[in-house]
Symmetry: C2
Subunit: 292 residues, 2 copies
Amino acid sequence: LISWIENASAALPMIMKELAPDTGRAHVIGLTGPPGVGKSTTATSLVRALRARDERVGVLAVDPSSPFSGGALLGDRVRMQEHALDRDVYIRSMATRGHLGGLAVATPQALRAFDAAGFDTVVIETVGVGQSEIEVAETADTVLLLLAPGMGDGIQAAKAGILEIGDIFVVNKSDREGAQALVRELRTMIALGDRDAEDWKPPIVSTVAYDNRGIEDLLASIDRFRAFQVASGRAQIRRIARARGEVESIALAKLRAEFRISGDASLNDLAKAVSRGEIDPYAAAEKVVAGL
Amino acid sequence: LISWIENASAALPMIMKELAPDTGRAHVIGLTGPPGVGKSTTATSLVRALRARDERVGVLAVDPSSPFSGGALLGDRVRMQEHALDRDVYIRSMATRGHLGGLAVATPQALRAFDAAGFDTVVIETVGVGQSEIEVAETADTVLLLLAPGMGDGIQAAKAGILEIGDIFVVNKSDREGAQALVRELRTMIALGDRDAEDWKPPIVSTVAYDNRGIEDLLASIDRFRAFQVASGRAQIRRIARARGEVESIALAKLRAEFRISGDASLNDLAKAVSRGEIDPYAAAEKVVAGL
């Protein structure tokens, strides 16, 4: 199913129709943060802890594909080989580059496949830098934002624009120098955040994922957040927002495909005229929309 | 103008119409790479070198905005204060989060503003991780991909999916340990790349941007690439692709705005039904498109 999703198979509408009644149960945990903070290692530890509770766990690693690597990288799988023989764990890297509608269409569909296949929890790992990736991460039921000491100064972390989407902050590699300072910095940032009294206040959990330290704390925080979300009705609100984003992205991808099919020649001509300054891009877009 | 662009002002179509005849001259250099490789420092050095040639230079730093930081960060401006009093240098950070159509709409418009204002060269700095950011970077006339030793292993860099978009590779912080190894690794990757004999073969330039080392080499590589692109007709092809992407993004943003205005209630109802598994997202998208 996920291969079909990656390749934007024409069969997807039919497949998604069949899957729809079996969806809506899985808890989706978004795991995001800058490259190198230990997302894959943390995912592995989380899988281990969730397996100890006898949950069926899926992991979806969303990477921009690269012709150099042929898409998903072996490295991720190697790191997770501990779970390779466990039938109740499914780990998958997904390349979405070139997918019509990109991450916005492909990721929720893949989650839907995991969900319908009966996984209790799906961990979705995305690089937490980049507009689309951040948007994908924030559609998860629970967003873990990973940081690590020594990954560049605080300004660099803030620059990534990801601090505001974390439901739970994880300071991984917390045995390294600078971990305390990073926790303090995060605490200050959270305190300064624009948050109402009844809002969830993101906890900061310190972990050493490769050594499995702090993972139980992390799981406890995830449980607390989940309970808070369900009790406050926000879990449902986020789900609806996710579905809405998904529907909107598919609708836009359909429309974009229509530009390409029916209007390709005129779109190219318009693009040429825009590149020469003969027409402005708004007037050109107006013509494209009128032509639909 | 750029503030209006950030805020998606209703006046933009009119403004862009006025600007159109004055666009198409500026050379756009995309400067991209993972956080912490020294993009801002390199931009500063490039500005210095281009100023020495008496060019008017614009710098556009595209950052996902953050409520914590109030959008663009002071840090970038501080780093570039060297050029603060130079009337022929304009440096601007742009926040695009929340902008309808996001980076895909806002960035080309901002470049258009720089272009019409008569800047010879515009350096656009984006975090080179993330689907949208990579797409923005690759629309530049010339794409510099910055890497630095010690920023995580090769796998992490490849994961970012950015290696294939570099016209010129820059190994910054090349006085650090591991620089030689990184150059070798890149050379191997470039050799393995799927490239025809008449294609441009990306050179690797070693720099120490904070110390201004290697910047003349970099500028020479930029000049060579530019000459190659113009002579081969590829400069024009890329420009048209950029215009095409811009028109398409504006058209899609218009259509998305129409969903929101005319179909908001029905879109919300459909999203609820999808979140409950009562309807699949394709069927829902079909209804949205049919409702337009």
